[in-house]
Amino acid sequence: MEPKNTDLSTTNNHGDFDIEFINVTKHYGDVVALNDTNLKIPRGSFHSLLGPSGCGKTTSLRLIAGFEQPTSGDVRHRGVSMVGIPAYKRPVNMVFQHYAPFPHLNVEENISYGPRQRSPKPPKQELKKLVGEMLELVRLPGFQNRRIWQLSGGQLQRIVLARALINRPAVLLLDEPLAALDRKLRREMQMELQSLQREVGITFVLVTHDQEEALSMSDTISIMRDGGIVQTGTPSELYDTPVDRYVADFVGESNFFSGIVSAADSAQATIQTKTEISLTAPYPEGGKHLTIGQRGAIAVRPEMVLIWPLTHEQPKDIDFSVKGRITNRIYLGHQAEFRVVTDSLGEILARIPKTAEAVTRDLAPGDEILLGWQWNFGLAMPDA
């Protein structure tokens, strides 16, 4: 088992990366599925490729698996190029989106399929033992003789997981593995996959279009758009310092205010909205700087927005406030979510934690309130 190493900045030895994309481009005829993409996935990490349908996630996985070859660029495994090596010789295994179990084989024969391709073939006894262990691992002991059509979706999922893991691959590829499961089962499998990855210690590369899934399971995430990676980072890096509006919008929820940049320096920018309101915010770490006159946006997470009754005095450190009317109040258990309509900034979402409830406890839909935030808690970015 490999030591866990997800810190990108301290790794510089190429052998430490289970997967590296170096300027990878992939064309299907006229379609550019992947465009000049760079990616590094450290050994033993749980990495997700997150993006909307058609952005090139499956293509990336298929390039790693060896079902496709890059049009240009290099795909490496621990520093060694894999271009030209056929799929059946690569140390990676895949869990297919629609599972693809072999319908003519029973569960045991499905799981032992990989080891049976080795030469020399492992002895029967050893295969039996291995399959037994794998079924324990995916919590389906005793399923050896079941036929494929007798299994439920969740069970199938575990069987194909076992079928891949029995080969002890360096990298396990998962293409939207949970998309076909119902919500409850999906939550359960998310946690199981996460602990499974910790247990076996191999690199997992998960493809998903579900941000919640990616955020809850991954060590690192690459946000993809139109055949490219927009940003790679840990879930909290992506949440706290999204490099642009696309990422901010994709990861978690944000209030966006767009307008024309009226002032800018190397640390922060001020934009003026159509309604003549000036808002200031710093750039995210690694984000693009803005110049005066261009279109910009300021993102403010709902957690950063405070609200208080008109009669109440303004909380300290607030740089900006605006009057609004509550339209919805949603109780979320650990926090309360307020939907507020303002004249000048449209609809604004605010989430108030239970610990800060003293001020907002009695607020109800229809109430006029004040709302505001600290400049430092917003993020300035180009308006995509």
Partner: protein
């Protein structure tokens, strides 16, 4: 109530089929069965009796039985060996746009009469056909027409489309991602074919082979035209006994024997191929 009326409808819908089967299949076979225990009338035809003499006389047509029991399986096998790669190519290799054209080409021969097409083969295989061409390049003394080889060629030609289609359908149904999964798990393309594609196409192969085999057991046109009276099938014996010699009782005995032989072979075959559970796995998914 609903159940009762629906079973009434079922009966009504099945009735034409049942009447058809009884009138055109079961009754004729019963008549033939009765005839086979009878005696030959003086002017030909049937004279009621109960004797096993006709069955005792079966060895007189042993050659026809032998030819049929050798060439029907051989023809099935030969057609299969040619049809499988063709079906594989159509289902898995050729690009979709050309697939339709090629599939149509496989069916086109059916637009003309089978008789005419088999006549055409008489010319191709006859003295002025392929043997003449071979002579032209220096290979002399090749005789094709009126040999078992000619019959076999005719069989493969005539039954190829019947063999190709069921196999094509079963190959086309094999999900591409299964082949990728096999590849992903370390199986080379050849091993993937042997362990995934081939087993999953077996139901189609079994169906195709059974249809072709059953039809071949009753074949008479191809041996009559391309075998030239030298390569006799049971079908030819039946034509001869019923229409020329008018020996109905003996013809009936031969026919009944053929039916029994076929029933035995086909039921053994079915039991071997369509084991319960085995095909279910393949067809369920």
């Amino acid at each position: 109530m609903a159940k009762k009326s629906s079973s009434y409808v079922t009966t009504l819908l099945l009735a034409p089929m049942a009447i058809w089967m009884t009138a055109l299949l079961i009754l004729p076979i019963l008549v033939v069965l009765v005839y086979s225990f009878g005696e030959l009338a003086e002017m030909g035809g049937y004279k009621p009796a109960f004797t096993l003499a006709q069955y005792a006389n079966l060895p007189a047509r042993l050659t026809a039985f032998k030819n049929t029991l050798v060439l029907a399986p051989a023809g099935t096998l030969a057609a299969f060996l040619i049809a499988y790669p063709l079906a594989y190519y159509l289902a898995r290799t050729v690009e979709p746009r050309r697939r339709m054209i090629l599939l149509t080409l496989v069916i086109v021969p059916f637009w003309t009469s089978f008789l005419i097409r088999t006549y055409a083969w008489m010319f191709i295989l006859g003295g002025r056909g392929i043997p003449a061409l071979l002579e032209f390049i220096g290979i002399e003394g090749v005789r094709l027409l009126n040999t078992p080889t000619a019959v076999l060629i005719g069989i493969v030609y005539g039954y190829l489309p019947l063999m190709v289609f069921p196999i094509f359908v079963s190959l086309e149904k094999v999900d591409e991602s299964l082949l990728e999964a096999s590849n992903d798990l370390g199986a080379s393309p050849v091993r993937t074919f042997l362990q995934v594609t081939l087993p999953l196409s077996l139901p189609g192969v079994a169906t195709a082979c059974m249809i072709v085999f059953i039809l071949l057991m009753g074949e008479f046109l191809i041996p009559a035209l391309l075998g030239g009276g030298k390569v006799f099938f049971i079908g030819n014996a039946l034509v001869d006994l019923f229409l020329q010699s008018r020996n109905w009782p003996f013809g009936s005995a031969v026919a009944i024997t053929l039916v029994v032989v076929m029933l035995v072979i086909v039921s053994l075959y079915m039991r071997m191929i369509f084991k319960p559970g085995k095909t279910q796995d393949v067809s369920m998914i």
